[in-house]
């Protein structure tokens, strides 16, 4: 009896391992395909197609990109600036707003919490948002268009931080600081911020991922190439590839200059370079990220 049970547990364990390996490969192989394509000789890539292992190895795509570094470098700088400014401002504003809402002595806290929370239930939609940002604030083709719409401060993060303050920082600590003559801004910077590091790390991570990966703000508000972030540059290249394809279908109606479109391998190399920062930091943040998802789901 016992042996049969142990035997079946072992079989079950092996089946579970096999299935997990299969799913992990399913997640991993598409990325491997792109890495392999970026390292394949262009003529071999056209002849043999995209393969999981390069049919003929070549660094040409990357040396080409190195020569084009001024264009890619600028897009990279835009992405870095937008991610840094957006995340830093957003996280500070979020924490500043969450603190008063966490204080039971603040008379207006329920009404403001509700007003902030309400934005999670109802939104005016893309169209009126677009008209307000573009016609009201004239942010089209400015770098602000990549920072301000949608991502700067969100109700979800404010409530996450507010709950953290309420549940993890004892009110007696704040009372003691007030007796010592600390002002509210001082309490916020000297006590609340340092003590809420875990939740600040969580929202910083989500916010910077959102900014780095965003391309929708650019799609709506940016058409000047000098302001393209890495994601927008990728989007533009891909759209040109499609235009060329349809133009070829219509025979000769080409409105796209073939020379403007990087070769297959180069395109995949650019995509990988856009993904590189995430690939580098991901192993370090993934545990925090998992914790963040769980807290968010429970306390959101």
């Amino acid at each position: 009896m016992k042996n049969r049970l142990m035997g079946s547990e072992k079989t079950f364990f092996i089946i579970a391992c096999v299935l997990v390996v299969i799913f992990a490969l399913f997640c991993l192989l598409p990325v491997v395909l792109v890495i392999s394509a970026s390292l394949t000789d262009e003529r071999a890539l056209v002849a043999d197609g995209y393969r999981l292992i390069p049919s003929k190895f070549s660094f040409a795509s990357y040396t080409y990109l190195w020569r084009q570094r001024s264009m890619i470098g600028r897009a990279y700088m835009i992405s870095i600036i937008v991610t840094l400014v957006g995340t830093v401002l957003g996280v500070i504003f979020t924490a500043m707003c969450a603190y008063p809402l966490s204080r039971s002595s603040f008379r207006w806290r329920n009404i403001f919490t509700f007003l902030i929370f309400f934005t999670m239930l109802f939104n005016g939609g893309v169209v009126s948002s677009y008209i307000i940002w573009s016609r009201g604030f004239h942010i089209k083709n400015t770098i602000f268009a990549l920072i301000f719409p949608n991502y700067l401060v969100g109700a979800f993060n404010i409530i996450l931080v507010k709950n953290y303050y309420q549940n993890n920082i004892p009110a007696s600590l704040i009372e003691a600081a007030k007796l010592d003559g600390a002002t509210e801004p001082q309490i916020f910077t000297k006590i609340m911020l340092p003590l809420s590091k875990p939740v600040i790390v969580t929202i910083t991570m989500f916010s910077s991922l959102a900014y780095w990966n965003d391309w929708t703000n650019g799609l709506y508000y940016i058409n000047k190439k000098e302001l393209f972030s890495v994601q927008l540059m990728l989007n533009e290249i891909q759209q040109n590839v499609m235009l060329l394809r349809t133009a070829n279908d219509r025979l000769g109606a080409a409105s796209v200059n073939v020379a403007d479109i990087p070769s297959n391998g180069v395109r995949m190399a650019i995509a990988l370079i856009a993904l590189l920062p995430i690939m580098i930091i991901f192993p370090f943040i993934q545990k925090e990220l998992i914790k963040g998802v769980v807290i968010g789901a429970v306390k959101g």
Partner: protein, 291 residues
């Protein structure tokens, strides 16, 4: 007063980014003419909505939005729960430590890059599928609408299953280990333990996740439906959703009337569904209700 000072930047931002657009929904009831200005344009009542729902576009985008969402909800639950159970079975082995980051990594990739990955598989001349899997009979994927329900479903599964399983893994981790031990002593196999302990105890989490997804059933992942088919016009039949329609009507056709009508329709129905979902969650499990 210092409280208001601290809150001011976020409150001003939320007013501009979230509340002004809510007041802006009146646009959907106007015939916008920029020469008259937004406020000066004529009121036309529900005309924009009437026009919109008479078009074939409306039927296609509603069918696609709802159809994909239903499919994604069912598959999402089944696959994420299964994956969470499997990950729990392999425990804290080296395999688990390696697999964990790999299965959530696709969620970190921007949809633009996902479109590149899709192109590596699907482009007709050099793509992995046509060259390595179907060398004899290549298929022109980006112009055949009938394949896209499958393609988009696979991409969606690839991107969200691992990430979606995190919450179920946390739930399973919270189950009292003694329950499993007791079942084991009684001679229950792992399979029976999953069937009679894990799954029933996951039920509340599953119900809440399903209700949350249903409340978003009129929303779609704009990136998935816009980027992955590479904005290809011949695929609209199976790739157009409310979100891609709103973008195209607004930015490509400058049709503010239709796009604002579709957009407001989506917001209002979404609002009603969130309220209803919350009422149901409150009945099922009061601790997990949203508000």
């Amino acid at each position: 007063m210092p409280f208001f000072g601290l809150m001011a930047p976020a409150l001003i931002y939320i007013f501009i980014n979230n509340y002004l657009p809510m007041f802006g929904v009146f646009i959907a009831f106007k015939n916008i003419n920029y020469s008259k200005g937004i406020f000066g344009s004529d009121w036309i009542g529900f005309k924009n909505f009437e026009f919109l729902f008479k078009t074939k576009d409306a039927y296609i985008m509603l069918r696609n939005t709802l159809g994909y969402n239903l499919l994604f909800i069912v598959l999402g639950i089944v696959l994420s729960v299964s994956l969470a159970i499997l990950m729990n079975e392999i425990g804290k082995t080296l395999l688990a430590k390696i697999a964990q980051p790999i299965i959530i990594f696709p969620n970190m990739i921007s949809m633009v890059i996902v479109a590149y990955i899709g192109f590596a598989f699907l482009n007709s001349q050099t793509g992995f599928i046509n060259k390595s899997i179907l060398p004899g009979s290549p298929i022109s994927w980006y112009s055949k609408a009938q394949y896209w329900p499958y393609i988009l479903t696979v991409v969606h599964i690839w991107k969200v299953t691992g990430y979606g399983s995190i919450i179920y893994m946390a739930s399973i981790g919270g189950i009292d280990k003694e329950l499993f031990e007791a079942a084991r002593v009684d001679g229950a196999s792992r399979w029976r333990q999953i069937l009679h302990i894990t799954l029933p105890l996951l039920k509340p989490t599953v119900i809440i996740m399903v209700l949350m997804s249903i409340s978003k059933i009129f929303n779609s992942d704009f990136g998935l439906f816009y980027q992955v088919p590479m904005n290809s016009g011949v695929l609209y039949k199976t790739t157009q959703t409310i979100d891609t329609y709103v973008y195209r009507a607004l930015m490509e056709q400058s049709d503010i009337g239709m796009s604002s009508a579709a957009s407001l329709f989506q917001s209002v129905v979404g609002f009603v569904l969130v309220i209803v979902a919350n009422q149901i969650v409150a009945k099922v499990d009061a601790d997990n209700r949203l508000f």
